[in-house]
Amino acid sequence: MADDIASLRRILKTCHTVAVVGLSAQWHRPSFFVAKYLQQHGYRVLPVNPRYAGESILDEPVYAALTDIPERVDMVDVFRRSDELLPVARDAVKIGARCLWQQIGVANAEADALVRAAGMDSVMNRCVKIEHARLFGGLHWAGVNTGVLSARRPD
């Protein structure tokens, strides 16, 4: 599992398309906050949620499953219960994603091991929005202890 600043930075810099599994269409839900944030910071968001399949969220078509997505996916970001993670992890491997990101509160060690064995990056129990804001600016303005010490300008 990737947990240090250098690895998280590399993952967030090299992934450009993000499939958000379990994305809600309701604006005040945390998954919507994350997807909206990612769009505003230059990521392509691909919503995955069988409940809204065929509709659109944040102006992107919603897919029922990861395997329905017709384009390359860099990161699979999961808003699901920890015990529902294994099938998502298997699909993430199947579609050739580079990273499985289990959101804060989600931690399935088996899924972590599975995707790492397939050569993928794996992040557990962290929020992709909070980590992006922590490492690339924004969270600092909210008074959060980012752990970032540097004598270089932010890149």
Binding site: D4, I5, H28, Y37, W141, A142, N145, V148, L149, P154
Partner: protein, 428 residues
């Protein structure tokens, strides 16, 4: 590679401030602006919805103030912090964010006088009831808990009582009742004590004192450990949609810094005790040297305490840094020093104490602490004047008490001034 855990000396200089993105400025720029432009209407909406992080208006956040917030959060080994206009603003914001009418607080009896008044008078006016207990006895905190208790409040090192709080034991009492322990850590500063590491959930500071250190600027901070389970059913304001902020659920949305966000979006935004960027910058100049200063404050105070203990013109001295202080072992277990604050009684009582204060050459008679200058005061007639004598005694204030905040002058000069003032005080 695992992230390095930097030491306090390094954090005090670097945490929260990387070179300015726009200019490369190495020192912290002062963003003296009330407001910040939006890139678009959609950007504005996202900022107001809290879907993206950024600055809108300096009552809520400001880049210069943010540097102070993150630095003190890092020094406290905590998750997040929010700065405000004074230490009292920090305490009132922390408590009013947790509490509502009908709630009850268990508080240490030995508190700064302003804190006693806030709880006993001002919060009582809004229907919050407080029980004051003996701060040296964790069992007294447990005995005072009620079904509607929602917070425990105490000072890590009492001002001016010098009472040392058994933070781990009192945190256990609070957590057994599902409520947070709020600790005022002003006197030790984050360099000598980190209450969150011992189990406290919220820390408040008067940054006016040691954090700033120069006695020029007022500021306060509320710091969150990030470990309190706000979803235990006792804090609907953290888990239910906020009527004051268009339905945001602070704990679900922001997790381990949800309390800080709520202080910011409800406390600062509504009650408005924001810190100015200029003040934040001035406090930060002090924070950079905090570890060095605390070391010297502790050394000088110990020398003063020993001098007073051995002087026949002095009736008593109270400094938990002295090995024969009843709480010395506890202090050593949870703090890296006893700080610069001590109190004593001059032989002859109150009148001699007053003569001592009036005879000082460079020790300043005023009611601040944590300055580079040595400061002296008489709490019974100043900081604790609003309390009656029984409240004063409960707060650890004796009528003859002289308080010294030992500064950074040469220790021989400080001892000289004390010696000559004592000579004047007991001459008659």
């Amino acid at each position: 590679m695992a992230d390095r855990r930097f030491q306090p000396e390094t954090l005090a200089i670097h945490a929260g401030q990387i070179p300015d993105a726009a200019t490369g400025a190495r020192a912290l720029p002062i963003y003296q602006t009330t407001s910040f432009v939006f890139d678009s209407a959609d950007h504005a909406a996202s900022l107001f919805n809290l879907q993206t992080f950024g600055n809108v208006y300096s009552r809520l956040s400001n880049p210069t103030v943010a540097a102070l917030e993150e630095r003190v959060a890092a020094l406290e080994v905590a998750r997040a912090a929010v700065a405000c206009a004074s230490g009292m603003a920090a305490e009132s914001m922390a408590l009013t964010t947790i509490l509502q009418a009908g709630d009850h607080v268990v508080a240490a009896g030995a508190l700064y006088g302003g804190s006693v008044t806030m709880l006993a008078v001002n919060l009582a006016k809004f229907g919050v009831d407080t029980s004051f207990v003996d701060a040296t006895d964790p069992a007294a905190f447990a005995a005072a808990m009620r079904p509607n208790t929602r917070a425990v409040f105490a000072e890590s090192l009492g001002n001016p009582s010098g009472v040392v709080l058994d933070i781990a034991a009192v945190a256990e009492v609070a957590h057994a009742h599902g409520v947070p322990l709020v600790v005022d850590n002003t006197v030790p500063s984050p360099v000598l004590c980190n209450p969150c590491a011992l189990g406290a959930d919220i820390v408040v500071h008067s940054a006016t004192k040691y954090l700033g250190g120069h006695g020029t600027t007022l500021a306060g901070l509320v710091i969150e450990s990030g470990r309190f389970p706000w979803d235990n059913g006792k804090f609907p304001g953290m888990t239910e949609p906020s009527p004051g902020y268009h339905g945001v659920r602070f704990y679900e949305t922001f997790g381990d810094f949800g309390f800080t966000m709520r202080c910011r979006m409800e406390g600062l935004r509504v009650f408005g005790a924001a810190l100015s960027p200029m003040s934040a910058w001035q406090i930060l100049q002090g924070v950079e040297t905090l570890p060095l200063r605390m070391e010297r404050h502790c050394c000088n105070a110990l020398a003063v305490a020993r001098f007073l203990r051995d002087d026949p013109r002095v009736d008593w001295v109270n400094y938990p840094g002295l090995p024969d202080h009843p709480q010395h072992a506890l202090l050593q277990r949870q703090m890296r020093g006893a700080s610069g604050l001590l109190s004593f009684g001059v032989r002859g009582g109150l009148a001699s104490g007053v003569r001592f204060i009036e005879s000082a050459r460079f020790m300043s008679h005023l009611v601040n602490i944590g300055d580079t200058r040595t400061l002296i005061s008489h709490p019974a007639s100043t900081t604790h004047r609003q309390l009656d004598e029984s409240q004063q005694r409960a707060a650890g204030v004796r009528p003859d008490m002289v308080r010294i905040s030992v500064g950074l002058e040469h220790v021989d000069d400080i001892l000289w001034d004390i010696d000559q003032a004592l000579a004047c005080a007991v001459r008659d």
